[in-house]
Amino acid sequence: MEILFYIFAGLAVIAALSVVLQRTPVYSALSLIVVLASLAVIYLLLDAPFIAMVQVIVYAGAIMVLFVLVIMLLNAGHEGPSQHRAKFARWVGPPLLVAFLAEVAILIWKQFGLTGTANAAALDASPAAIGRVLFRGYVLPFELTAILILVAVLGAVVLAKKQF
């Protein structure tokens, strides 16, 4: 099982780098799908099959399809090296990134140590348990999110519609 984790964690990291480094937008989008799918496998290894499946259905199967569709519609081809990159960003960006990553690493190290384990068995990740939590403890945030999404959908329809 552990070897599976290393394979898919490595795949996720490589694919994530590929998202940034690819020059063709379609390849970037596809790399992002590989990242999301690898994360789904890691959820599966953590005994959370429901989260894993929802991850694939929502992110890889719905959101990324729209990304790919838009890229195809625009027919965005190969991109050359960026012409308008701020010098400021080049000098400040990498150190800031390193500082941020170091901070995250230190926090995790302090919390769990180098060989810490999360107790996955203590959490019930079955669809029924998630449903109970979502519709009892968090029913108000859940419904508010639903209304927010509905408003966004209606807004998109209004914006896309040319005349009434």
Partner: protein, 364 residues
């Protein structure tokens, strides 16, 4: 029994099951193409394939050989890796979903319990939807990477179509999931065992979910036809306007792979419809032990076959939709009907739950 020998046995069992299922599936796909040509032929008062073998029974074999020996032509301007990836992605996604489909009761052989299913996932239904939702990529990528106008238009059309109808596909089965209270396919089938009553007219009807969810079934079934790009929803490859849609530029074996994936997808959606609405492998079982194992598999196959026949029948009967009709139907008819079905079902399920009167399959 030690731990290692049981793990070993599981591994061997899985490999054998996968090999057998792949063989059966590939044969079924081959003969589904034969059946389709035969049935369409008879619907149109023709004979269909008749030359290769008796009643054209060797036609699939001849077709396969022909596909293999045809020259593989790729467009010069095609995007190499993605052009290759697309058909294999289609194949992978089509066959992956078969892994969670149960097709019979489990039985005991030499002290080992063998389930007639490659793997029993407790979120099996979600797994199928996850894999189906990834199937869109093969079509979209095939259309884009061919770098040609007809495949691009076909790819765009079918991506839009598959996303639109996927929502209805999911909405159609939510009613069944609510009644069953589980996402495990084996569990859902087991809950449909028995008859509706011990006497009277109802005793003739099996406890299939179809009778509880007729609307859900219709929504699922129509959406499934669209999802597999079959007539009357075969806009992605409507030959009268788009040559052959997303696979226009594919030839030889890569085309064969697209073709096989389409038929594998047909079998998958038919199998899911059978499991969710028609009681899966349940049916009259009698006789000695071996027959008790074989009969459920036979019932399952028979039900799936009926669905596949219906698919072909529809193809021989209905004309193709126009694209705007397709979208309007998906979003303005199928989606609202599927949505309405959910509060209705949940109200009834909640009422049953609290009144404790009439028992639903999942409540016992």
């Amino acid at each position: 029994m030690t731990m290692s020998s049981s793990t070993e046995f599981l591994l061997i069992e899985s490999v054998i099951k996968i090999a057998v299922i792949m063989f059966v599936l590939l044969t079924a796909i081959a003969y589904l193409t034969w059946l389709e040509r035969k049935v369409i032929g008879h619907i149109q008062a023709r004979w269909g394939p008749y030359r290769v073998g008796p009643h054209g029974l060797l036609q699939p074999l001849a077709d396969g050989l022909k596909f293999m020996f045809k020259e593989d032509i790729a467009p010069l301007e095609a995007d190499g890796p993605l052009y290759w990836l697309a058909p294999f992605l289609a194949f992978l996604m089509a066959f992956l979903s078969i892994a969670v489909i149960p097709f019979g009761e489990s039985f005991t052989l030499a002290g080992h319990r063998i389930a007639l299913q490659i793997t029993d996932l407790n979120v099996g239904l979600l797994f199928i939807f996850a894999v189906t939702s990834l199937g869109v990529y093969s079509v979209a990528l095939a259309g884009w990477s061919s770098n040609s106008k007809y495949p691009l238009l076909g790819g765009l059309r079918s991506s839009a179509q598959m996303i639109s109808y996927e929502i209805s596909l999911t909405l159609g089965v939510i009613g069944v999931v609510m009644i069953a209270g589980t996402l495990s396919l084996r569990e859902i089938v087991n809950q449909q065992a028995g008859l509706w009553a011990h006497s009277g007219v109802l005793s003739l009807l099996p406890r299939w979910n179809l009778f509880l969810q007729p609307v859900g079934f219709l929504v699922y079934f129509i959406a499934a036809i669209a999802e597999t790009n079959r007539i009357p929803f075969d806009l992605p490859e409507s030959e009268t306007e788009l040559v052959a849609g997303f696979h226009t530029e594919y030839s030889s074996f890569k085309f064969a792979i697209f073709f096989m994936s389409e038929y594998a997808n047909m079998i998958t959606v038919a199998a899911v419809a059978t499991l969710l609405f028609f009681g899966g492998w349940l049916g009259p079982v009698f006789g000695p032990a071996p027959l008790r194992v074989i009969l459920p598999v036979f019932w399952f196959t028979l039900k799936v076959f009926c669905f596949l026949f219906f698919y072909i029948w529809v193809r021989g009967t209905l004309p193709r939709f126009r694209y705007d009709q397709l979208m309007a139907f998906g979003w303005k008819v199928l989606l609202p009907v599927g949505l309405l079905n959910i509060p209705l079902t949940s109200a009834v399920v909640a009422w049953m739950h609290y009144s404790g009167g009439f028992r639903l399959p999942g409540s016992g």
